[in-house]
Amino acid sequence: MNCKTNKKSSFPSWIRFRIPESGELSKVHLFLNDMGISTVCKSALCPNRLECWSRKTATFLLLGEVCSRKCSFCAIKKGTPTMIDLQEKDKIVKAVEVMELQYIVLTMVTRDDLPDGGAEHIAEIVIELKNKFPERKVEVLVSDFQGNVSSIKTIVDSKPDVFSHNVETVERLCSQIRDSKYSYNLSLEVLRKIRELSPEIKTKSGFMVGLGETNDEVLQTLKDLDNIGCSIVTIGQYLQPTTKQVPVLKFVTPEEFRFYEDWAEKKLSIKVIAGPEVRSSYHADFWCKENEV
């Protein structure tokens, strides 16, 4: 299997993730495996997962591991989604207890095959978590539910502390890197609707850079999210999970990420968290504490 090339790492020095020593890392890994709990950390091959697991945090992936949409940047399996795991609620509660999570992030594969997109299933888990652990915070990162207001309302009514939906990229590139069912404006509308239904819930969105967007397009995306009242925005470097996904066109420098944060702080009302290693839920607990969620 060893095919020798002279290629050294083609990644810049800031795209370098340290694998922590085992310990908490291995305990979390074994526990999640034993429980049959999916995390987006593993399904999306997130390079931060080792750091997050060693800090005893994880983002739970609900409604199976197979997504009904085919975004060209994403490593999550695509195809016909699996049956809903009716034990999922109990497993997540158990995981929160065992991992002693104070800040819980729930995300999902998109389920266009379900009439409500899976909203009821997620809402039930949020309600259970809020009942069992009233002092802990719950963040949901969900699909656009095809703009179905009833599904969005179902999640809003379950009262998560943070309701997140990602625009993923700038408007021009949306049709190239996201599934054709997604649209930039629909994503903005979903976020606007959440604010309309429940102004007290913090809304959050995120997008990737390094896919060919211009600086002006990044700033415009921030303005668009600011205009619809989004509270928190994450910007991170796109990293090609495997050769099956679209390639990275640029490694954005840490200085450029800092510029986006500083620019937003001066010009907009939203809080921008930007950096090469930033992902939608990376250090979500820390950032939300900082922003008084």
């Binding site: 002279n6 290629k7 083609s10 370098r16 694998i19 020593e21 979390v28 890994h29 390079p47």
Partner: protein
């Protein structure tokens, strides 16, 4: 005693066909290595990672040279703990 170093189980890529490459050894052969220090940089298509030294000892054999691809289950070097 010989300790065969592999990618930690929890850090292995999920998909079997993900290619992993040694991009840079951070120690030389026969160097004394200290547990917890940076040992080797590896990369997948997605990012570069640094594996730390799992046990203190002497780096007695490098099994995967810089630039070589390897399977996530392969040993990449041997640390001799007896000669520490």
């Amino acid at each position: 005693m010989e300790y065969f170093v592999r990618i930690p189980e929890e850090a292995k890529p999920d998909e079997a066909d993900v290619k992993v490459q040694v991009s840079q050894w951070l120690y030389k052969l026969n160097d004394t290595v200290q547990k917890g220090s940076d040992l080797v940089e590896i990369c997948t298509d997605k990012a570069a990672y640094v594996i730390t030294v799992p046990v203190s000892g002497v780096l007695s054999k490098i099994l995967i040279e810089e630039g070589q691809y390897f399977s996530p289950d392969d040993s990449i070097c041997i640390i001799d703990t007896a000669t520490e």
